[in-house]
Every structure is written in structure tokens, then in C-alpha cells.
């Protein structure tokens, strides 16, 4: 499982390190083995590769210089923010440069009238909402790691969070990006306006997992903090009743800000870790949050409460204030780490199914786990069918890690056959690239990689991620010698 690659101290990288030191400063270029090993993995710690060179960029120019030198030397680079990704998207290349962006952490003043803010990629997700709060504004995407994850990483992975059922994902909240392309050219995609003539390359860039370039500045859309927020915690004796409540809510035309579900094992773990006081004996709990205008939230909240009772909820708790709400969320947001309390090791999975198939998929998942003698704790964004099965295993038991990895893979295939996806928010990264061929045809993947070829014909930006096999880009097609007929006619660039 662990692939510990030795750094390739080749003549090529040695020469590149010298050039980088001259360009960005000696203190920002690391090649010492013990130092660079700090960066050998991201949040998915079961894959490790030691990079040859680490660059600690502190300015856009450092990024441009680094990328240009990599491009000239034909050396791959991997951009990294806080390194909290869960798919190995920031796994270094052994013979390449790891470009660390976490020192690029400036925020411009909040533009309250436009409800926008411009930030550097190393800025921590939660800082944006912190800066926006005095204006009654907030940054909507809220991955559970928001205390530590960076905006640049959020953009690379198109990060989601508990509230994306109502508010959408990172791609719905980024208006503009300054991007250093893999040849060092700087382009501006999107901007402060909602639309611009031309292809929506911003939309294509967000979620491209560092394979199309490096964002050095991002303009984010802020949302108005809603007038009212109400949160309830509901305990059930069966998963079916919990899932049924979610279906009833959606069928009634209610769009909650969040609907989160945890099963018995996940509840047990959260209790052990943070004593969140979830209903005792619950086989499943839902955390349901509604927000919006006060009258709307009150009316719909009462409706949801009735629906929960009709589905045999045995305990319904309503958060009386922000502190109680925070406690309800604490159990949910700490769930991944909490599983460490009930299992020596665990494997976090991220898959999506059509929400209506929740009960049957959970039953099948249980059957698959039983077959392998493993346990799976389930934490998920129930409103949009985004599952986070946590496969529990014990490293000390021979072969169990391998069994767990296989089960996690089987669960993804179950997601695909159910009409879903292998990732809802963690990204494909290194971990799932071999599964892409199960969800997409070779034609689909080749077509996607046409975009890669346009941005990065040499394939040096985060190689080995997202796609099972790189597409050879070949010559730049249509590259013309001499003037294009439209330009020759004096119409170029305008019509």
C-alpha cells in the first residue's frame, strides 16, 4: 500500500534546484531529504512520495519563476496548499518540484457592495468568512477541514461541504482566477463580473485538481448571512426511517441548507471522541438545518419536525442557540477523525449515489462489508447522496489493510452501478484515477484530456492524477505558420 519512493537526485533536478535558488531565493528552495520528506503526502497518508525539490513560494512571481523553470527543464511540478486533500491530489512527483503555496495568504478588503473578496491561494477557507462576517456576509463552501484547508486547494478539488445542497460547490462561488499556466504564462479567467465573452475556462479550471495550472489569486463570491438558521438533531431506530425523512423533505419542496446523516458506528465514534451527546441507542441520526427568512424557516422547520415524527423519530432536539448548534455540528464535522477512537485504522471513502437509492445501497454496502469481515461507518451528506463510508481495519492484522482497500474500491463500483460517481468532493487525485475508466468511456477520458493538452501539452502539471493514462498530446494541432486568413483580412481578434 505504501509506495515510498526515493527522491531522484538526478543531474537534471540538481541543476533545476540551482536555477530555482537563483530565481526565488536560497531560503525558499528545499532539497534536504529530511526537510522535503515533510511534504511526502497530503491528507491521504497511505500514499507517500518524497519530492526532489520543494519551493516555498511567497509571491506570484515566485510561482511564475518556478513554473517557467520547470517547463524549460521538462520537470513536473505539483502545487500544494494546506495538504488536507483526501485523494492524494497533492502527492509529489519523485523527480519533480513540490510548489507550496501556503505562504501566499493575503486577503484584499471585502467588497461588500459587490459581495466579493479577492484572496491568495494559501488563505484558509474559514478566514474568508471571518473577514466577511462584519459585513453580514459569508463564504458558502464549508468543507469539514475549513479550519485548515486552503482556498487554492478548494479550487483545485472543487470542494464542497455540508451546505452545498443549497448553496452549491466551490465552482459556484469563484468568480475569477489569476492562473499561471504550465508554461509560465499568466492568464485571468473570469473576473469580478458574472460573465465574460469566450469559453468558460474558469469553470473548466475549477476542480481540475492542479492539472491545468496554478491559481495565484482568486475572486470569491460571498453570500448574505441568512436572517434565520434553525438546526435539529433527529434520532432514528432504522436507517430506512432516516432516509425516508430526507425523501419526504425533498418531496415537499423544501430545500434545506444541510441534511447530514450518521449511522450507529459513526455515532459511536463521535461520542467517544467529542461527547456530542447524540441520542442514545440511535441507529441513525440526521442533522437538518434550514436557513432563510425567519417566517419561512419557522414554517418549514415545523413541517420537517412533523415529517420526522411521522417516520418514527424517537428523539428530536432543536438547537436553542448558536452554541447548541455548534455542538450538533461538532459530532458531524469531527466524524472522520473520531473513527480513530473505535478502530486502529480507517479508510475514508467519498462516493455519490442518486439520493433515492440510499437504503438499498447502504444495505448492499453492509452485505459487502460483512462478507469481508470488516465494519463500515457511514457519514454522509444525505441531501445530495454524497456518501463518506469509513472502512475500519486493523493494520496489525495481516492482510486487513488490503481487504479494506479492496472493499473501499468495491463501494465505489457500487456507486457507479447505482448511477452515481466515484467522488463528490474529495477529487480523483492519485487514489481513484484507476477507477475513472469504470465511470467513463475511453472516448470520454480522451475528450477531457483534449483540455489538458490545450493547457499543458507537455503534461508537467500534477502528472499522474485524475486520469488512468495520460493522453499523448502530440503536435499542437492547427498550428499555422504565417497569418490566419481572418487576421490577414484585418478582422482577427475582433470578429
Amino acid at each position: 500500500m505504501t509506495a515510498l519512493a526515493e527522491p531522484a537526485v538526478s543531474a537534471r533536478t540538481t541543476a533545476l534546484a540551482e536555477q530555482l535558488r537563483a530565481a526565488v531565493g536560497i531560503e525558499r528552495v528545499l532539497t534536504d531529504r529530511t526537510q522535503v520528506r515533510t511534504y511526502e503526502c497530503d491528507g491521504l497518508a497511505n500514499f507517500k512520495v518524497t519530492p526532489a525539490i520543494v519551493v516555498l513560494a511567497e509571491s506570484r512571481q515566485h510561482v511564475v519563476d518556478t513554473v517557467r523553470l520547470c517547463s524549460a527543464a521538462g520537470v513536473p511540478f505539483v502545487a500544494r496548499g494546506s495538504g488536507t486533500g483526501l485523494s492524494g491530489g497533492a502527492l509529489p512527483s519523485a523527480d519533480g518540484v513540490l510548489l507550496v503555496l501556503s505562504r501566499l495568504r493575503a486577503l484584499s478588503p471585502v467588497d461588500a457592495d459587490n459581495r466579493q473578496v479577492t484572496v491568495e491561494p494559501g488563505v484558509i477557507n474559514l478566514w474568508v468568512t471571518r473577514d466577511a462576517a462584519p459585513f453580514d456576509l459569508a463564504y458558502a463552501p464549508d468543507p469539514s477541514s475549513q479550519l485548515v484547508c486552503s482556498i487554492g486547494g478548494n479550487v483545485a478539488e472543487n470542494a464542497g461541504g455540508a451546505h452545498c445542497l443549497k448553496y452549491g460547490f466551490t465552482v459556484n462561488h469563484v468568480l475569477g482566477a489569476e492562473v499561471v499556466l504550465p508554461d509560465g504564462e499568466v492568464v485571468h479567467l473570469g473576473g469580478r463580473a458574472p460573465e465574460h465573452p469566450g469559453y468558460d475556462l474558469l469553470g473548466a479550471f475549477i476542480g481540475s485538481e492542479g492539472t491545468l495550472g496554478v491559481a495565484t489569486e482568486l475572486t470569491l463570491r460571498l453570500i448574505r448571512v441568512p436572517e434565520a438558521v434553525q438546526t435539529m438533531l433527529v434520532g432514528y431506530r432504522t436507517v430506512e426511517d432516516a432516509a425516508g425523512t430526507v425523501s419526504d423533505i425533498i418531496a415537499a419542496g423544501i430545500l434545506p441548507a444541510a441534511v447530514e446523516m450518521m449511522d450507529a458506528l459513526a455515532i459511536e465514534a463521535a461520542e467517544a471522541a467529542v461527547a456530542c451527546g447524540y441520542p442514545e441507542g440511535a441507529v441513525a441520526v440526521l442533522v437538518i438545518e434550514l436557513d432563510g427568512p425567519q417566517v419561512e424557516v419557522e414554517a418549514q422547520f415545523a413541517q420537517v419536525e412533523e415529517m420526522a415524527r411521522a417516520r418514527n423519530a424517537f428523539e428530536i432536539r432543536i438547537a436553542a442557540d448558536a452554541a447548541e448548534r455548534a455542538l450538533m455540528w461538532k459530532g458531524r464535522k469531527s466524524a472522520f477523525a473520531a473513527v480513530g477512537r473505535i478502530s486502529p485504522s480507517y479508510y475514508v471513502q467519498d462516493g455519490v449515489i442518486p439520493r433515492t437509492k440510499l437504503p438499498e445501497v447502504l444495505a448492499e454496502m453492509k452485505r459487502m462489508a460483512d462478507e469481508r469481515g470488516l465494519r463500515v461507518a457511514n457519514v454522509f451528506h444525505a441531501g445530495d447522496g454524497n456518501l463518506h463510508p469509513l472502512v475500519l481495519f486493523d493494520d496489525a492484522v495481516e492482510g486487513q489493510a488490503h481487504e479494506a482497500e479492496e472493499l473501499a474500491g468495491d463501494i465505489l463500483e457500487l456507486c457507479i452501478t447505482s448511477g452515481g460517481s466515484i467522488t463528490g468532493e474529495h477529487g480523483v487525485g492519485h487514489e481513484k484515477r484507476m477507477k475513472m475508466g469504470k465511470q467513463f468511456t475511453p472516448e470520454d477520458l480522451d475528450t477531457m484530456q483534449l483540455l489538458r493538452c490545450a493547457f499543458d501539452p507537455d503534461g508537467i502539471a500534477n502528472p499522474g492524477k485524475v486520469f488512468p493514462t495520460p493522453r499523448l498530446c502530440g503536435e499542437r494541432p492547427g498550428a499555422r505558420k504565417g497569418e490566419h486568413p481572418v487576421q490577414a483580412a484585418g478582422l482577427g481578434e475582433v470578429f
Binding site: 499568466v186 468558460d200 441568512p226 468511456t441 490566419h484
Partner: protein, 395 residues
Amino acid sequence: MTAPALTGRTGGPDDAVGGVVPAEVVRPGTVEEVADVMRAAAADGRTVVPVGARSKLTWAAPPESCDLLLDLTGLDRVVEHVAGDLTVVAEAGVPLADLQAQVGGAGQLLGLDPPEDGATLGGVVSANASGPRRLKYGTTRDLLIGITVVLADGTVAHAGGKVVKNVAGYDLGKLFTGAHGTLGVVASTTWRLHPVPPARRVVTLELPDAAAAGPLSITLARSTLTPSAVELIADADGPARLVVLFESIAESVAGQARAAVTLLGGGEESEDLPEDFGRRPGGADDVLLRVAHAPASLSAVLAALPAGASVAAHAATGVSHVAVPAADAAESLPRLRAALAPHDGTAVVLRAPDGVRDQLDHWGPVGDALDLMRRVKERFDPERRMSPGRFVGGL
């Protein structure tokens, strides 16, 4: 090597796109037939312009050439509507109105409301058309969750999927949105739906002039009110109105409408939308523009419009549709674009009378990513046979 293609018919003046009459018009009925047609066109190097209901043919520049007009109205099946998941799969030729009627039966809607009569899903995607409710639901890029495209060489490719939350692979749906058929053919689309709100309340405020809408829209945007649309409707040098639409449960829209009247310092409440709500401004004699800008710059944008302009501004979003007199459009448009620049603003020509159109720079300045866009075009359509010349920079 040439696949058996459908028999088309000879193109006529009624089939012209931007004055270019196609040699042939072909109307496939399935995605596979589209692929067959594209392979055949590739084999003999013909240029192809895909169209739907043809309601927005003027929204892009005229093509340099159109050997084959690919009429997609035969791809008219709603493939799968899963009400419980709030998703629908529908082919590109399905009219938006038909889709709304079908999903409306389950109390759902697709949150897109461009007014063009008969517009198909493929056309709405390819032209990135939007209307007033973009404030609440966003636009195609926010609602399209999966896409099937056919490339110039006949390759059929999918991206996205049938689930709302999905980050596997590149999002080709966004790339094809607003691409006006220059990268390939949009053949099928998958959408996220929303529930139809049970109640509606409209607040209409007469304004002394259009400019008053700027500060009011900022006030609304900074409030906790959640309107579906905030529309400034202003006739050329005539009356101006701000129409604020609330759509939710009855208690909510009643309370919000009252609050809006207080916040705006006036306004009439009603159940019904004014007849001209959501329509494009002006008439056939005008030049119709889509203007986009930083949302809070609406006042400055309105002040920069040429005399005689009529406006339908999606006021809190930063997108407006503006009709300007055609007579001096060749002079007024560059001036307007210069005035918009500090607000990250752009103006795109959507329609212009014959004789005026070819005096206008259709797309205006594109910025520093144009060369990258050209590289994207060259990868997807290396022979430059898809709607050549219709897009920015002559792409």
C-alpha cells in the same frame, strides 16, 4: 470509411445563419445519428453549424462557412426524469418550455427562464441564455450536471453524470456552455431541478429614472430578503420600474414583500408579474446587447448607456440586456465598452438589424486568455470545421 449518413435536404434562404446559406440541412433523430453525420462531414471536410429552434442565431458572429446545417430538433426526448432525485436527462432538441411542462407535472422546474420562443436545451446551453431568475437559481453553469457531446470527428463523449454532486473528471459541460457550437455538438443534457415555489408576490416600484435602480439593488442585495429576481425595466427615455419577485411559501412571500416595500421606500404589491417581465428590451430596429459587469456598478453602467437605450437589467446580478439605437451603434458601442472596462464590464451583440451588424465588433475585448481559448479550440476542432468564425477572436 464514410459512415452511412442521413439524407439531408438542400439549404435555402430560410436556413441562413448570419446571412450564410448552408449547402445542406440534415436533421438526425438520435445521438448515434449525429455521430454518423459528423463522421461523414469529417470525411469530406465540411463545415458544420449546429442549431436548435434557431431562436438565437444572431447571438454569435456569422459563420465563415456553413456546408452543413445540423438541425437538432429531432433529438427531442426527455430521457429520464427522476423526481425524487430532482434530476432530468433530456436531449438537446427538447424545447425548454416542453421540459418545464413535463417536470412541472411533478411540481418541479428547471431554474432557467430565458424568454426566446421555442428555445431548445441545446441552444440555451450553447448560447448561455438566461433570464431574471438567474438571481435565485444561477445559470446553465450552476444547473447542468451532465452532458453528452459529439465532436467534429464524430466522437461521442460524456462528462459529469446524473448526480448533483460530482467532481470526477473535467467539467466539459461548463466548457460547452456558451461555446456557440464551436467545440462540438451538444447532444444531450442532464440537469438539477428545483421545486416549484407554491406562492408568489411581486413588488413594483416606479422610479424617477433608471439610475435610481443602482443603489436600490445594492440595498436589496445586502438585506436578508431572498427575491427570485430584481428586474429594472426601463424604456428608452421613458418610465422606469423596479420589479422585485418573491417566490416561496405564502407566509414568506407576504412577509418579504412587505419588508421590501419598507426597504425600498414604496412600491405596489401584487400577485401577478407585469407583462414585460423577463422580456428582452427594444425592437427589431435596435441593437440588442448583453452587458455584464461587477454587480454593484449598475449605476455607472446605466449612466454610460447611449441615449435612447432601453434596459432589462437583472439588477442584483451584474447582467443586463440593453437595446441601443442602431443608427449610431457603430460609434456608441466602442464608447460603451470603454466605459464598462473599469467595472470589469463587457457588451456582446445579440441582435442587430441587417446592414448594421457587420459594422459591429460582435464580442468586444476578450482579455489575456484569448490565446488559451484558441488552443482549446484547436484541440477540440483541429480542422476548424465547427461553426468557424462565430466565436471570440474569430474562433
